[in-house]
Symmetry: D2
Subunit: 283 residues, 4 copies
């Protein structure tokens, strides 16, 4: 089947899936949107959407049983009773495993777009912008002229450290591997080994991207008064939030930023990732 | 009188003046703060604050008569009856003229810190950061990957265009003078003559810094659907806001950003400007 | 006279004038080139070139008497005897005063393109690139990772400091005015007052753009061993070169870089400046 | 053995090894240098140097037999007859395999510092700077304002594209993988798939880092007149140099830049890599 003839059924999800539908339409695909009555009059019935060649569910697809998460729906989007319609379809979600455990036994192909390197790289952008926005919003000083620390030099760390510098912060980046530290230095950041923060007291802004307990009591005690920690690592994060509260250290655990900060961009990232996967599949 | 022995009385104002007081204290000056009962227990009586060598009022000093604007006061900060205490003092406000019209006839020296080049340059930073924050917050797409237009290459235009690029936007800057356009080009921005926007339909984000009607009906009609205009020019701004509403063009008139976005930095900018003026005066 | 019908006579000069002629031709003008026999077979007789509406001489026009500097000529380009042909013509050179002192008494209009802000701004680019090239070429270390000092924040200082940062140097910039120092800081450079270099021993690369004796014996003695000073200020420069030699401090006095480093760009800068002047004149 | 007590013998090599010796000395190690009579009076006998704990030979160690490449030696540095002294020593060179094929049968440990990610990353810097220098030197236009193409987004491509942008070029980067293309785009470069250059005629500067025939006749024919190709890929490179000559396309095959452009930095990179290896070995 040629990918440019494919029809898409988008079932549930937040604004990202709404913008995904719009992006696909703009690119000339036939799209059926289901579970968005509150947002759009494009929204149609479950059965109709399931007739499409490619189905897209939310990143984390189900609330309970086979009910699709659909915050903008007026009617429940429930897949119960429609299992047959899924056979032979390409079904995309963000988390392959959850979907499979629910629908085990069916013959079909599920694909996780969030496993793709391309998706993760692009998604680092709205995450980093959300972090920048939090830093402007939740501090009483400017990023320009501040000293900031970015823990971790993975995708988000890379994007975020460049943006912070672009705003005029003096940025230190931490990493574990010596080759990462070499990159950090030649990209003109100050580098420090993650965990071995000799100058923790100098930073006005601290961003954590490492999914491990980095900022424990000992470290929190050394944070500069008035500084702000923004933790971007997924739950439970890398900060002892309770201790931080006790010690009066200001923290924000910022999760799921892409959908909040830039749902249109986030939807377009899902679109381009899905189209890439279908293209390869096709070729 | 040596400037490092000076005592300061801060009377009224918003958080900027509060942080100004803190910054002066940190630098070893004796400071009396008046009109901040809601924010700090440092706050003292009008008479006591007026005994200081240097007095600082809010940027726009008075509400009505001789009542000082003081949103964080529990008691009115009224200078009536204290005119004598002002004699021979150095009195700082943001707007020289207003103060003088109120207190005409007194012998004293008023100084406007906002007339200083140094102040305006530094103040461009929190303004630009506030604009960046609005752009992240009020759009559903990311700055990274967007196309943006900055109208005007004065202080704010210069800072803002660098920050937008630092975030990953493709930035066009407009100016009128050919030497400004030469700078724009060699700083690797696309340049266009202000008003002569041949590609207005391509920008996702438009920032105006020019205090003149730039975005009239004709131009508003050419704006890309979904684009956002952020007007940073002081009242009445450079956008026909009514027409924009009619045409469904999203606009934000963002005023007084430094005090809102970064009161601590804004207070420190006032401090360093005042100290520079006093130092020169001293020398 | 409409500027797009103008004919140009280019008489003498170095490769910049050669590329000026090519650029004008590419833009559709009729051009006569004189004094470039060694470089091009386009070259024609003096009398013929002087028939044009607009005449362009070298930046510093004369060698002796009325002989035009023309390093690429096989025959002398001598204006003697042709004075009448100059009457009523627009004559461009880089230095207004020298030309006038030679040809005093004639009725005509001479115009110095190098007086134009636009010219100086654009010309800062090849100068800064030439400085970067010297820094790579004449040192045994990389710019990336080095600490550099740029003295002066005029046009060249501004362009050069951005380029050095772009290469990965940690840049300090010096200036005298507090508003310049404010710009330096908010552009994320370290700032220092010109002459008051407290950390002179830390810089690997020092660039001077200030036309005054900055690096005297006292300062030269504090320069780091192995560091390189590149002086971009016009003769006699800002370095005590003799003392530097005595003390073993490596120095380069880099002059007239645009013509050497990027004659094509330099010629195009002359073209756009001349066309701007003619356009305004026209309007 | 504690790594900070180690003694080093540097045998032969170019200026990089000379600066390696100086760097080790500065860091407090005992160093014996052999084969540098023309450059330094520190130079000692082969036998004496071989008494050290750690031996460093040139990147490509031998000229013929067991004679070490030593362009700055007055006496041949020949290891014949000293094989016993190598036993149990740590011997570093740039290419593990060559050394081993020569000395097969000996009991010892050879280590190649150039296999280390850290070494390759850091070495990309002097390579990129050398390329920038060539671009300034060998073209008649400025990098600022030029359009450039960087083929390949490996280490050198990453460093070089940032530097070119830092100089003010409008940079397009090519890669093959979609995740690399995602990075290229979010780093605000224009991205293109390597080989699929739809706008080849627009670039003033083309840099190749890909070790494969990229610029064949078909592509060379589309290059803009006056453009410059700088090939950084190791022999035989990625350009059909003969065809280029025929077609009048200006090319430079720039090899071994680190040692030429910045021998001191290159030596320090070798030092830090060797010390890292020894430290890990130690732990």
């Amino acid at each position: 089947m040629k990918s440019d003839k494919l029809t898409f059924g988008i079932l549930g999800g937040d604004k990202r899936n709404y913008y995904l539908a719009k992006a696909l339409k703009n690119d000339g695909y036939e799209v059926k949107l289901c579970g968005f009555e509150k947002l759009s009059n494009m929204s149609c019935e479950v059965a109709s959407a399931l007739d499409s060649d490619v189905l897209v569910l939310p990143i984390i697809p189900f609330d309970k049983g086979k009910e699709v998460k659909s915050p903008y729906a007026e009617k429940t989007v429930d897949l119960s009773g429609y299992e047959d319609k899924l056979k032979g379809k390409k079904v995309f979600t963000g988390k392959r495993e959850k979907f499979l455990s629910e629908f085990s036994g069916m013959e079909k192909e599920t694909l996780s777009y969030s496993d793709r390197e391309e998706f993760s790289v692009k998604n680092a952008v709205p995450t980093a912008e959300g972090a920048i926005e939090k830093a402007i919003n939740s501090s009483d000083f400017t990023i320009n002229g501040s000293k900031s620390l970015v823990c971790g030099y993975g995708r988000i760390g890379k994007v975020l450290s460049e943006m912070l510098r672009g705003m005029g912060s003096e940025v230190t980046v931490s990493a574990r591997k010596s080759s990462d530290l070499a990159w950090i230095k030649l990209n003109s950041f100050q580098g420090v080994k993650t965990g071995y923060f000799s100058e923790l007291e100098k930073y006005d802004l601290i961003f954590n991207t490492v999914p491990a307990m980095i900022f424990d009591e000992e470290k929190l005690k050394r944070i500069k008064s008035g500084a702000l920690i923004i933790d971007l690592a997924s739950y439970p994060g890398g900060v002892d939030f309770e201790k931080a509260k006790e010690l009066g250290v200001k923290t924000i655990h910022a999760l799921s930023l892409p959908g909040k900060v830039a749902p249109k961009s986030a939807g377009e990232i899902i679109e381009s990732t899905i189209l890439s996967i279908l293209k390869e599949d096709d070729g």
